[in-house]
Amino acid sequence: MKFGEAVREALDFCLGADPDVVVMGLGVPDPKGVFGTTVGLQKKHGAKRVMDMPTAENGMTGVLLGATLAGLRPVMVHQRLDFAVLAVEQIVNQAAKWRYMYGGRQSAPLVFRLITGRGWGQGTQHAQSLHSWFAHIPGLKVVMPATPGDAKGLLISAVEDDDPVVFIEHRWLHGVHGDVPAGAHRVPLGSARVARAGHDVTLFGVSYMVLECLRAAEFLAEHGVSAEVFDPRTLRPFDEAAFLASVRKTGRLVVADTSWTFSGFSAEAAALAADKAFSALKAPIKRLGLADCPMPSTPALANLCYPRAQELVDAAWSVCGKAGPAPRLPAPTTPLDVPDPSFTGPF
């Protein structure tokens, strides 16, 4: 099953399991259904629970936060994370504080599904991955699945969670296939996953970067480097124990993020490793992220912004103290600005 279908299955499950769950967002019931992730849900669960909304992100976020007072458990969907930036007031000032500032007398069981764009000229305002912002905020939970199974399992857990959860999907994962358990499949928030075991270096990937880490690890294995791929799955709560176990095991860490490194989540991972696993580290920590500029539209420049498996191989090679230049992966056969050859734009 594809990642996007797994998201849909999770929503379908939650809507079926709990009459208080509602799904709202621009285009949710439209024929394309948010990249297929909401198709058919309105028909099955009714227009009262699955609905479109006015183009009013901040206001509608507050409306849904208010609806939790009456007992609803809303899922709000944004086709681009960038649109949720309009609602940062309600998410950060309000929802995140709801439980704490009322001394536990309130609860904000909301889920924000935010989709991070990439490729095909998405540009400055349609390709931001601002998970580090959200992960910075006590009171918010931040989930970034990398596989279809985790997408379903984590989304169900997010909807059932009593706190606001920012659930970030990378657009380039929607078409990725994987096994998805049927029915009530739950992955607990705050549990990481070792996507591939290894002992020389830990490749820490966020969201789509897990795939690049796996590509790199596979290639490194052919060249005598055993890389472990660590997928945090949720950034907050963060599975510190699993992370530190991996770093202690390999003694080397490369963090690959879908966003900028400066002041970003990769810095948090590096700091945690340095703080709590310093004695295990055999080499300086390396971080890979976007070029430190807004995302340009033209592929000629955008293609330069994203780290890929090759950069991970280079980084792993270097922290492992390997002699000579790192081996080169075969050149990609599809253009760099599309997730797969079937994608022909425009959105």
Binding site: K32, G59, G121, S297
Partner: protein, 324 residues
């Protein structure tokens, strides 16, 4: 209206149509690698409004800016090159189709976040007012943009300060595949809602270029005279898919009946009929116009395709002032 003015209006309509049809035709070559939102079917509103402006006036737009940029006199070569992601593009390739700009032509920018240029246009008018510059600023927006909070916040301020702003709202009934019915209450009349803020409100047929121009002239005159902002709602319809070069009626979010009815109201054909009837336009003039525009377009496409991709060194420029 004078013959020359009418022929010029027609020519502008035709030019917008041919430019965007060319984009639609070339898009499948996959060399324009950015989302494009075409204004085919909505040209008369852009042409009418911009024709009412004077040199020195400004406008801003949103995700569907090609028509506004060109109607303001934006450079065609630079727009095509921007769509092709080239160094010679109006943003050097960094913006793409949704972020056109030509300051010389008074087109001060467009952005991809719905409604976000509305307060900016109000601010441009505010800045101009503070500096004593007699300038009218047009904010192009869609029917969905009035659902955003910033519209209401900016409208309030524009009225408060009597700012010379014209909110030109192209009501094409849809936001992506969502009709007005799921976004605004039944019976809502957008320009009347705007009027409730205390601004002048006008409305008319956005597929009739002369009507659009006449209304825009009224609006611009009002704004320029210091009486404050005007909301101008122009009814129109997007022919092609929300984003991209194709048609999307097969999706079923709107009826073929509705689509066909609007197709009959083609702003270009309607005006052609008017001009032919008035004996201002015949096959010969039309042929000549088409040939001229096609030549201009051929050159623009060639310019774009022949232009170099941006130098990788420019990736890190423009993040801050002073860094080249």
């Amino acid at each position: 209206m004078q013959r020359a003015v009418r022929l010029d209006l027609y020519r502008r309509l035709l030019r917008l149509r041919l430019v965007e049809e060319r984009i639609a035709e070339l898009y499948p070559q996959q060399e324009m690698r950015c989302p494009v939102h075409l204004s085919i079917g909505q040209e008369a509103a852009a042409v009418g409004v911009c024709a009412a402006l004077e040199k020195g006036d400004w406008s801003m737009s949103g995700h569907r800016p090609h028509a506004h940029y060109l109607a303001m006199g934006g450079d065609l070569n630079a727009m095509m090159a921007e769509l092709y992601g080239r160094a010679t593009g109006c943003c050097g390739g960094k913006g793409g189709s949704m972020h056109l700009i030509d300051r010389k032509a008074g087109f001060m920018g467009a952005t991809a976040i719905v409604a976000s240029t509305i307060p900016m246009a109000v601010g441009a008018a505010f800045g101009s007012q503070v500096r004593g510059e007699k300038r009218v600023v047009v904010s192009f927006l869609g029917d969905a943009a009035v659902e955003e909070g910033v519209f209401h916040e900016a409208a309030n301020f524009a009225v408060l300060k009597k700012l010379p702003v014209v909110f030109a709202c192209e009501n094409n009934l849809y936001s992506v595949y969502s009709g007005l019915g799921v976004r605004q209450p039944k019976g809502r009349v957008i320009h009347r809602q705007a009027a409730s803020y205390g601004m002048k409100a006008l409305a008319g047929d956005g597929n009739d270029v002369e009507e659009s121009l006449a209304l825009a002239r009224q609006a611009v005159a009002w704004a320029r005279s210091g009486k404050g902002p005007v909301f101008l709602e122009l009814a129109t319809y997007r022919w092609r898919e929300h984003c991209g070069p194709n048609y999307d009626n097969d999706l079923g979010y709107r009826t073929m009946k509705e689509y066909r009815a609007w197709r009959k109201l083609c702003p270009l054909e309607a005006y052609e009929r008017v001009l032919r009837k008035a004996k201002l336009l015949g096959d010969a003039e039309l042929g000549l116009m088409r040939k001229d525009i096609a030549a201009e377009l051929d050159a623009a496409v060639r310019f774009a395709k022949d232009s170099p991709a941006p130098d990788p060194k420019t990736l890190m420029t423009d993040v801050y002032a002073g860094a080249a």
